[in-house]
Symmetry: C2
Subunit: 594 residues, 2 copies
C-alpha cells in the first residue's frame, strides 16, 4: 500500500480559496482571537503528521490482529494504546471540545480536515477519539454543570473515552421500542438495566475509564420515542475530585466479529443496575442526542471520504507502477514492451471517478462544516438560522452520499489493482471492508434519505430547499461570461431545475400517496448529492481559474471539473427517471410474492 | 443465515416455459436420447439436494477456518474432502464432461442451473469442481488422444482435479509478456520452468493428483501472444495405466490471504523443470484456452448470480422476521407495536432490485447457455453460426454484468440486515466478500467490456449486434396488442434504439479517436446488459401471462417485470449520456496531474 500523504494543498484550497473560512472565523467572537489562516495551516500540518506517521502505519497490522476479548476485557491491537496516549497528549482527542474544559475548540470546517486524515489513516482507530468527541459534545450541550465539571476535562484530555449506547438487540432504527430501564435512586442517581449492542468502544484497554451515554426509559415514560431519557453511566464511578472510585455494575458481554473495522471493539454492553445520572430533561433523551447528530452524521460521512482518498492514492501509485498492456498510439512508450496501466481509458475512468468524487466530497464536507460553524458562531440571528436550514438539509446527504460514493471509490480502487486488490497484504480490500459499515451505522443511509425527503423537504413543504436553490442560482448568475463553462453552467442549471421539479412533484404526490417518500428517498438523496457536487465543482473550477497562475497544480482541478460534468453528473438522468416513476411498482407484490 | 433453497420453480420456468430448451435438445444428435424435460427435472432436483444439504451447510464455518498452508501442503476446511468425494461419486464433477470419458455431458443451459446452485451454496467450494470442468473441456478439445485417454477419465470422475495456470507476477491481463519457459526433452515431453500466481486450487488435499494446464513459451516462440503454448503438467506423473507414478518438479510456494473465498486455495505455483506435455499446436496456446473461455466466462458470471440469489433469500427472510418501525397506514399491522421491515418502501426497493436482477440474471445465463448449446449442437451450420455470433456478443456481458450486478445485490442484501449485515455470524457479509473476486478474475470486467465493444462490436463493424437487434425487434413485433405492455414495449424499443444509436456513433468515432473504445467500454457493456434484461423481462412477462392460470406463482413474475421497467431500466439514461461524451474528458490530465 502507498504511504498515506494528507492532501494538504487541496484542503487549503477548499478552506481558504473556495470557502474563505477565515472570514467567518474573524466574525465569530469565540474564534476571532484563536483562529486564522496561518494557525489553521499550522494545526493541519501537525494533524497530517499524526495521521501519516503515527496512525496510518499501524492500520494494516491492526486489521490482521483485530481486537480480542477475554473474560470481559477487550485488548486492542499492538500499538493502539501508545498511539492513543500520544494522540491525547497532543490534544487531538479534544480537538472539537469546549476550551473551557481543556478542548481545542476547533471549528468544524477545520476539524473536518483532521477527521478526514484520521479516517484515511485508519477508520478503526479513528472511532475511539471520534465517539469520544460526540459524547463530549452531548454532555457539554445537555449535562448539568456538575456532570460537565466532573467528566469533560478528563474526556477532552483523552484520559477517558466516551460511547453512545442506543441500539438494542430488537431495536436499532426504531429507538421508540427500546427496553432498557432507569430506576430513580434516593441519591439522585438512577439504576440502569438493559442490554445494548453494537457499542463502538464499549470496552477497551486504551484508557482507565469509559463514559457511556445510555438511552433508557424511566418508570413513568410515555410509549415511543417521547419516553426516552439519556444517562451518563461511567465504567468506573469517579470520585468528586475526578479520581477513580468503584467499578460500576456494567460489563462487556462479547464483541462482534465483523466484515471490517477489526481493530474497533464493537461491544455488547450489559447494564445491570448500573449507576447513572440523567443528562438533560427526563424523556428528552432523543432530542438531546439529536443536537450532536448533525456533527456525527458529517463525521460518519467523512469516514467514506477518508477511505476514498486513501483508495485513490493507493490505486494511483499502483497504476503508475504497473506495466502491462499497450496504450493507444498517442500514449504508448515506444521503447517499452508494455505501458503503465494509467494509459488505459478504463483505468483513467476509475481513477478520475475516485478523484472527482473525493475532491468533490472534500469540498462538500467542508461546506457542510462551514454551515455548522455558521449555525453555531454566526454573527447574527439571520446568518445562524440560514445556516441551520442548510445544515438540516445537507447533513443527511453528507452522511449517506459521502459513504455511498466512498464505497464506490474503494471498489474502483480495488478494481484498478486487479487480483492484487483482492489480496489482504496490499491493503486495498481493507478499505472496502472498513468503509462498508459507514453506510449502515449512525442511521442507515436509507434512514438518512427518509430524513432528507420526508422530514426535511416534505416536512418543510419544500422550504428547506429554497436557500440552497437560491445559493446555486446566485452563483450561476454571478458567473461572468468570460468563463468558458457555458455547457457546464447549463448542465448545473438543468440538474437543479430537475431537482426542484421532482421535489414539487413529490410534495404534490405525498398528500395522496403515503408510500411515495420511502419509495424514492434514496434516489432523491443521490440526486441532491450529485447536484451539490456539480455546484461545488463549478465553484472550484472558477476559483481555480483565478488562482492558477499562482498555484499551477490547480490546472488539474479544472480538468477534473470537466470530467465530473462529462461522466458523473449524467447519473442524475437515471435518478430523475426512477423518482418520477413513484411508488406503484414497489407495492405490487404481496408478502408471499417476494 | 436462511437455509439455502434452490429456486427450482424459476429454473424450470426459464428453461422450459421461456426458452423451451427441450426442443433444442431433441434436435441435437448428441442429446436427443439422453435429455428431455423430465430427465432435466430429475437431474436438477438431485443437484438441488447436493447444493442445499451437502455444500451450503459448510460454507460459513469454512469461511472462518479457511485453507491453511504448511510446508508446501494446503489443507482445506473440515468436511471439504468428504464433500468433494461425495460430489465426485454422484458424477457432479464431470457434469459437463464428454460422456466418452465418463462425464454426464449435460448441455450448458442445464449445467448453468447446477452451477448457480453450487455458487449459491458456496462459491469457494464450487471453484474446485469448476476449474476442473474448464480443464477437462480444454484437454478434450485440444489434447491428443493419448493425453485424453490418460487424463480425462480421472478428471471426469473427480479423482483428479484441474487448474488453469496463466497469470505471472508481472502479467495477468497481458499474457503476451509471460516468462515461463518450456524446453523440449528427448522423450517428447517438455521441461516447464516458471512462476504462476493466483492459481485457484493449485494445491489442496481433496484428491491425489492435480492436473495443471500451464501457459509457457517454447524456445523459438515469437514475441507476444502469438508465442504462447499450452502444456499439461500433472502434480504426480501418471503411469500409462493411470496409476500414480513419480512426483513432478513443481510445488506450491504459498497461498494468498484474501478478502473472501477463504476456503478456496489461491496458490503461487513454482514449476522447476516440471515435466509437461504440449496440448494442441506450438504457439497456439492462447486460442486453445479461448475455446473454453466462453464457457468459463459464463461460469464466472454465474458466481455473481448464485451469490445474488443467496443474498436475496437471506435478506427476504430477515426482512420478514425483523419487526421494527411502522409502515404507512395501508400496510400497518394495527395490533402490533411495530411492523416487519418489509412494509418499508426502501426495503422493498432493495429486495425487488435483487429479485429483478437475479431472476433477470437467471434468464440471461440460461439464454447464453442455450446459445452455447446451439453453437455446439445446432442441427445445421446456419443455426450454429448464428448462435456462435450471439455467444461472441453475449459472453463478455454475462461475465461482467452478472458479477457487477451480483455485487450490487449482495450489498443491497447486507443493507437490508442493517448492523447485522456487517457481522460475520449472519453470513451476509461473506457473500459480498466472496462475490467481489468474480469481477476481477478470468479477465477483469474492464477487459470484458473492451472485448465486447472493441473486438466484438467494433471489430465486426457492428455486425455482431445485428442478430441480437433482430431477435428483439421480432419479439417486439410479435407481441400482440392484447398484451397490456405498451409502455414497456416502447421503453424496450427506445433502449434498443439507443444502443444501436450509440453503437453507430462509436463505430464512426473509433476511426479518428483511438481512445474512445476503452474510454466508454464499461458503460457500453452495462447498457447492453440492461437492454438484454429488458428484453428477457418482457419475454418472461408475456410467457407468465399465458401460464399464470396453471402456475399461479407466476403472478409475481409479471409484477417484478413492471418493477424492472419502472426502476431499473432508467439506468440506461445515465449510461447513454456518459457514452455520448466520448473520451475527451478522460485524457485531459497529464500523468502528474492525477
Amino acid at each position: 500500500m502507498a504511504d498515506y500523504r494528507a492532501p494538504r494543498d487541496d484542503m487549503d484550497f477548499v478552506l481558504h480559496d473556495v470557502f474563505n473560512v477565515s472570514a467567518d472565523w474573524q466574525q465569530a467572537e469565540e474564534l476571532a482571537d484563536m483562529m486564522d489562516e496561518d494557525t489553521a495551516t499550522a494545526i493541519l500540518d501537525e494533524a497530517a503528521k499524526v495521521a501519516e506517521n503515527l496512525i496510518a502505519p499501524l492500520s494494516r497490522a491492526a486489521d490482521e490482529q483485530g481486537v480480542s476479548f477475554t473474560e470481559g476485557k477487550v485488548t486492542t491491537p499492538d500499538g493502539f494504546k501508545q498511539n492513543f496516549k500520544q494522540l491525547a497528549e497532543g490534544g487531538w482527542v479534544g480537538v472539537t471540545a469546549n476550551p473551557e474544559f481543556g478542548g481545542m475548540g476547533l471549528p468544524k470546517s477545520l476539524s473536518a480536515q483532521y477527521e478526514e486524515m484520521l479516517c484515511s489513516a485508519d477508520i478503526s482507530f479513528s472511532l475511539y477519539p471520534g465517539l469520544t468527541s460526540g459524547a463530549i459534545m452531548t454532555l457539554d450541550l445537555h449535562g448539568s454543570d456538575e456532570l460537565k465539571q466532573l467528566y469533560l476535562p478528563k474526556m477532552a484530555s483523552g484520559e477517558w473515552t466516551g460511547t453512545m449506547c442506543l441500539t438494542e438487540p430488537h431495536a436499532g432504527t426504531d429507538l421508540g421500542i427500546i427496553k432498557s430501564k432507569a430506576i430513580p435512586e434516593s441519591d439522585g442517581s438512577y439504576a440502569i438495566t438493559g442490554t445494548k449492542i453494537f457499542i463502538t468502544g464499549g470496552e477497551h484497554d486504551l484508557t482507565d475509564n469509559i463514559v457511556h451515554l445510555v438511552l433508557a426509559k424511566l418508570p413513568d415514560a410515555p410509549a415511543g420515542t417521547k419516553g426516552i431519557s439519556l444517562f451518563v453511566v461511567p465504567k468506573v464511578i469517579p470520585n468528586d475530585d475526578g479520581s477513580l472510585g468503584e467499578a460500576n455494575s456494567l460489563s462487556c458481554g462479547s464483541i462482534e466479529h465483523k466484515m471490517g473495522i477489526h481493530a474497533s471493539a464493537t461491544c455488547v454492553m450489559n447494564f445491570d443496575g448500573a449507576k447513572g445520572w440523567l443528562v438533560g430533561e427526563p424523556h428528552r433523551g432523543l432530542p438531546a442526542m439529536f443536537t450532536m447528530m448533525n456533527y456525527e452524521r458529517l463525521g460518519v460521512g467523512i469516514q467514506g471520504l477518508g477511505a476514498a482518498e486513501r483508495s485513490y492514492q493507493n490505486a494511483l501509485e499502483y497504476a503508475k507502477d504497473r506495466i502491462q498492456g499497450r496504450g493507444a498510439k498517442a500514449t504508448r512508450d515506444n521503447n517499452a514492451e508494455a505501458d503503465s496501466i494509467l494509459v488505459h481509458g478504463d483505468v483513467r475512468r476509475m481513477l478520475l471517478t475516485m478523484k472527482a468524487m473525493t475532491e468533490g466530497g472534500r469540498a462538500f464536507s467542508t461546506w457542510v462544516g462551514q454551515q455548522l460553524d455558521r449555525a453555531k458562531y454566526g454573527a447574527d440571528e439571520q446568518t445562524r438560522q440560514q445556516a441551520d436550514a442548510m445544515v438540516a438539509l445537507l447533513t443527511p446527504v453528507a452522511k449517506a452520499f459521502l459513504t455511498d460514493t466512498g464505497l464506490e471509490s474503494t471498489i474502483h480502487g480495488q478494481q484498478v489493482f486487479g487480483g492484487h486488490g483482492y489480496v489482504r497484504e496490499w491493503g486495498q480490500e481493507q478499505l472496502v471492508r472498513d468503509t462498508r459499515i459507514a453506510q449502515i451505522y449512525e442511521g442507515t443511509n436509507g434512514i438518512q434519505a427518509l430524513d432528507l425527503l420526508g422530514r426535511k423537504v416534505c416536512g418543510s413543504q419544500g422550504k428547506l430547499l429554497e436557500p440552497f436553490t437560491q445559493e446555486v442560482n446566485e452563483f450561476l448568475a454571478q458567473m461572468s461570461s468570460k468563463h468558458d463553462w457555458n455547457a457546464e453552467r447549463a448542465q448545473l442549471q438543468q440538474a437543479l431545475d430537475s431537482l426542484n421539479g421532482v421535489s414539487a412533484e413529490l410534495l404534490q404526490k405525498a398528500g395522496a400517496d403515503e408510500n411515495i417518500i420511502s419509495a424514492v428517498a434514496v434516489e432523491y438523496l443521490h440526486l441532491v448529492g450529485y447536484v451539490c457536487y456539480a455546484y461545488l465543482w463549478l465553484r472550484m473550477a472558477t476559483v481555480a481559474e483565478q488562482k492558477q497562475a499562482e498555484k499551477p497544480y490547480l490546472g488539474a482541478k479544472i480538468k477534473t471539473a470537466k470530467f465530473y460534468f462529462a461522466r458523473i453528473l449524467p447519473r442524475v438522468n437515471a435518478l430523475v427517471a426512477a423518482i418520477k416513476d413513484g411508488s406503484e411498482s414497489l407495492y405490487l407484490h404481496d408478502e408471499d410474492e417476494f
